[in-house]
Symmetry: C3
Subunit: 339 residues, 3 copies
């Protein structure tokens, strides 16, 4: 565990330091749990009440709130962003194997950049290209003709099919599967006829992909994930989907085939988006909504019902089945009254 | 990339060829993006507008639309089915390792058919039986006493528990887990008591299973997936479920224990089906519906609400909690008016 | 397959045996399918009708129903619990490798208890501690500084990141990923800035985790799964979630960050729970509900709508968008009538 002086911390996030510049911190904690050797932060005024009693060794704080804390403080315009930036110096990064582990199986046709790490038991197919400083975790599989950009890291047990392109500075978590066949079949009198998926997956730079997430290869053209997209765990992205730059997708969301999602969207958890839609830029979808039509304007969208206790819910859910009838009977009453 | 003459293409799908039978194509593309060296197709009349301007080297088309395209054409009764069939010849199939890779760990009691491929780092347990032309991808695990039928392919990093039966001509995508324990526990005063799952999983012929999909072993009897079933990514199939022949299940759907689903059903994405139900043949369930009771007749079924902007949705969702009261007050107004 | 006399069975579950104490059984089956060599059980009076015709070699039954079955019977207070307990003796447990398989890659700094099994192709990082009788399946990955308690078993292809603590007597199914980064990013003018996840995951004793389930590491503090929790397949547990003792979570459920769930809750399949909530002890959530606010009292909670055929559903779902207006118009009619 490394320690840093508040002087060093202040320099890293360009903060105005008030207090003991030689005070040492070796971790980050919330205002309520921080001890003297911790850095803390206040990003939301709602936590102001914890400032007076916090034992934090220093607090990242904005100018407006600075007077509320009497200890060491680091004044910055955006405390949450400063906190995010500082997590990097406190993160425990396991040391990766330098070079190619002798238990890895790497084809002779692979093209390697400088300072590559290929972990134990990894398998790397023909004509794979790995950029400088790429880290391939233990047990990963990379199919033939796949390319991975510089500084990209694959955690253990990631599976990449053949012909996939992954950009620079990406992070792929364990168990994710990139490039499996899209779910394409033609109905015939003898059952389903497989449509071989001729496209690939193209992933931009600075993309993070969560554990056990699946991104399928395209049917004819490619599935595309643009730069800066962040995707949580257990997300399903079907063939020929395009996700625009800097869009964020939370866990357990499913996006069906050929849907195009704009940039800077935020899609909450367990959302479903049906196929062949277009979603504009800066759209927010709330948790567990189903999107069944294109969205042409930025804004927040939802579906579903509010939660109740199950007894009340049963009665209301039963009435939902009569909702059109209820509306029609109401309108009839209104008409009768007028006439 | 292979090239084919239109004569060869026409023979493969039994098409009536109009145009240059020596014209070469080396891929498939949509009408809008196809170039002179591409084959294209029109399966839906809605795309008719793209025919006149398409640069496709040839188009798979039915007789009714044939006059709308002036270039080379391949007239077939079912262009989508012909397209599906032709994807096979254009698919890039990575070459698999011939034989057992020296880094694989294969028990001495395994029974191997002809022309087997076992990839790097695969692990194969005792008494496993692999039929002719089976392909086991890199990093796969097959538990003891499992059987895999001829021409079945497991992509990289598939996990099969012990005692599982998989039929012929199946394709299992990376990360799928077949035969983990069903979620069976008895409540006791000391907490949950595990019910060991004594059944297995039986998978028929021509089944495709998506990436990271889970099919649990049965509690007493077996979980059964019949011939021709196709299952997308991240699907959960619980213990003792039975899925009838040629049923299709889209991504992120979850089917709870002991439910029996008929044949030729189409279950859209992110659907939930509770346990111990029976679903008839040819039932269609729309995306993200929850099925809480058995369905005895073919047809399409749904639940959920339509999407709105979040501000309107909040008001309507709040009213949902009052829906039974709203109905009762409406009916009282009607009664009062009559009396 | 082992056989047991009814005398042995009766002793194991402390049953009162009526019938042939030397009768042999070698498996468990339902009343309808059991043969003479099977043990069966009746846990729900609804199945009473099958008792008279059952060919079971013996039935676990409570005193109240005992007279309804004329064959061998084992009278116990809780037949379902007795059945659960007996599944263990009939379970086929594949023999695990004794010791460390030569193809595994185990760091020199690992601390091993007695009677450890490390399967083929497993990879175990620096300073990992494995308790007595731990079983690590084929292809598993354990990151540096992870600890696994005695008698805990990891099935094939499980991934554990660095610094994770797993208790005793746990069972982790294939494809689960423990300790991937929580989904934490700060929005900046240049896109999303990663918040490195400084916490870990702490898993108690007697926890079962399903196939392809993900439990993320905490942002600052740890994600915590208490003793006796059971989690099904494909569940997403986000950073800093705490799950109380003996809570059960069914397949495909997603729990967002920092939510605290009480003990002895039962959360059905495909439920979504948004972040930063508190759920009391003994709460039951029905399938596919979305929980958007804290729950302070034990009880059953639901959201969603009832299923209909799609044609009717479309009309009702369209009316849902007018629900607030419908309510307001109804209330106006009521007011007009009174005035």
């Amino acid at each position: 565990m490394h320690s840093f002086t508040l002087r060093e911390i202040a320099q890293l996030v360009n903060a105005e330091l008030h207090g003991d510049e030689n005070h040492l911190v070796n971790g980050i904690a919330s205002l309520q749990t921080a001890k003297h050797h911790h850095l803390s932060f206040i990003a939301n005024p709602v936590y102001k009440k914890y400032l007076s009693s916090s034992s934090a060794g220093a607090v990242l704080i904005n100018a407006a709130l600075a007077d509320e804390f009497s200890g060491n403080k680091l004044i910055v315009a955006k405390p949450y962003e400063a906190y995010a930036k500082l997590t990097e110096i406190f993160a425990v990064k396991p040391i990766v194997f330098a070079g190619i582990h002798p238990s890895a199986v790497v084809s002779e046709t692979v093209v390697l950049g400088k300072n590559i790490s290929v972990g134990p038991k990894a398998v790397i197919g023909e004509n794979v290209v790995l950029g400088d400083n790429v880290v391939i975790g233990a047990g990963c599989y990379l199919g033939d003709d796949t390319e991975v950009g510089a500084h990209t890291e694959l955690m253990a047990n990631v599976t990449i099919y053949h012909g996939i392109q992954i950009g620079r500075d990406c992070l792929l978590h364990s168990g994710c599967v990139i490039g499996a066949d899209g779910f394409g079949f033609a109905p015939t009198k003898d059952g389903w006829l497989k449509i071989h998926q001729l496209g690939a997956v193209i992933i931009g730079d600075r993309v993070e992909i969560g554990a056990n997430t699946c991104i399928d290869r395209g049917a004819l053209e490619d599935t595309v994930i643009e730069d800066g997209v962040i995707i949580d765990n257990l997300v399903q992205i079907a063939h020929n989907v395009k996700i625009g730059r800097d869009t964020a997708i939370a866990g357990h969301t499913a996006i069906a085939g050929s849907t195009v999602i704009g940039s800077q969207c935020t899609i909450a958890g367990a959302v479903g988006i049906v196929g062949h839609l277009e979603i504009a830029d800066k759209v927010h979808i709330t948790a567990m909504s189903l999107v069944t039509s294109s969205i042409t304007e930025a804004g927040s969208y939802s579906s579903g019902t509010a939660m109740s206790n199950t007894k009340d819910w049963r009665k209301n859910a039963a009435r939902f089945r009569q909702l059109d009838e209820i509306a029609n009977r109401l309108y009839k009453l209104e008409r009768d009254k007028k006439s």
